[in-house]
Amino acid sequence: MTKIDCEHVVDYLNGTLTDEDLHAFEEHLKTCADCRQIVELTGELPYLAEPIEPPIGMKARILTNVFEEEVKEKLQSEPKPKPKPATVPVIKPKAKRNWWTPLIAAVLLMSLIGNAYAFLKLSDQQEPETALREVDLQPSEAFNGTGQARLIREDGALDVVVSTAGLEDLQGDEIYQVWLLKEGQPIPAGAFSPNPDGEGAAYFSLKENTEGWDTIAITREPNAGNQSPQGNIVLSSEL
């Protein structure tokens, strides 16, 4: 084993120590204030970077891939309890692939993983039903833009994924807010700001009170967090 001293802090930061040396250096860290301070500094150095707004859609892409890795691993490492066709009767959307497809994929994948777990744990349980419904959102007068809403009912929950294009830029604190309405009574169901190309997407999951919604609408709200609409309806559709 190498003699571990302060010089090794550089190797520690580079992750190039062997397991044995790493363990020794971690012991050294406990007693060496200098090295601890250098390690602590690495929690602050990244702030030298210019703030860059993450690309829209990156979160959905990354989380989908992270959870997909897990599914692959599970499939490789665990034998299936029983051979069976697809775990979930997911209806594949026929529409052309859009830039926001990964968001749908993320939602469906979460469902799939959830179902796979439930299936593995309770093999005698009935398969949960998944239903996917898609509606086109119509622009109100004086507004441009198009949109689609997908409602995914699965395992008692209702997931709402909205995607839009051609929306006007927002000013100040404004935000596009999605609402679900039942007999004229709205609840907020996700909000978003469009990207510079006017495209936006929102995802919302409803665990309770999932039945009976008759309308979906998007308003342009003066600020985020309103519990009832204050702005004008931009896009809407009956359900």
Partner: protein, 188 residues
């Protein structure tokens, strides 16, 4: 509602709590992405690195504990090492950032930017207190992830002294930053 601590979130992630991973993602997406773009000079590669970071977190088996210092230090160090790996494997030349401006939009909440700006100003002030050579050392080692051989070549110094020079530059920077932060606290 009080934000759960990073350590608590990490614990939930180890128990395969997807919501916790998403919360941690939201908390650090922007700083990690900005940092990774600075390192890789390539938003696509930065996204690849960020994904790798979260795959590691999701699969992680008890790697982080509080004896290893602040969670952010550990997380950023892990991200940096992922980026260095990808930079070294990268075949294509990096795209100059000016040409990829369309991929990103720059609006952020004012509050978030102000917080970032304050931290950035503090560390920039601290960096300016270093000698030119020390600043260069931090840029080449920390942000560029160059090997010791490359750094020795660029700086024209013996290979055997690279490590200790990096260490001294980092140590000096931490000391300066501490001074800047204390002065800031007194001004407030």
């Amino acid at each position: 509602m009080e934000k759960s601590s990073d350590f608590m979130l990490y614990g939930r992630i180890q128990r395969q709590d997807k919501a916790a991973l998403e919360e941690l993602y939201d908390r650090y997406e922007k700083i990690l992405f900005s940092f990774l773009v600075k390192m890789t000079e390539d938003p696509d590669l930065a996204e690849e690195a960020l994904q790798e970071v979260f795959i590691k977190l999701w699969r992680g088996k008890g790697e982080y504990d509080e004896s290893k210092g602040k969670f952010t230090s550990w997380l950023f160090t892990m991200a940096r090492n992922v980026a260095i790996d990808l930079i070294r494997k990268r075949k294509k030349p990096s795209v100059p950032l000016e040409e990829v401006g369309d991929l990103v939009n720059t609006d952020s909440s004012v509050e978030e930017l102000a917080e970032w700006q304050e931290q950035k100003e503090q560390i920039e002030t601290a960096v300016q207190e270093l000698s030119d050579d020390q600043q260069k050392m931090i840029q080449l080692f920390y942000f560029k992830g160059y090997t010791h051989e490359t750094i020795a070549g660029i700086c024209g110094i013996p290979l055997g002294t690279v490590k200790s020079r990096i260490r001294l530059a980092l140590k000096k920077l931490k000391k300066s930053l501490h001074g800047v932060q204390e002065r800031g606290a007194i001004d407030d």
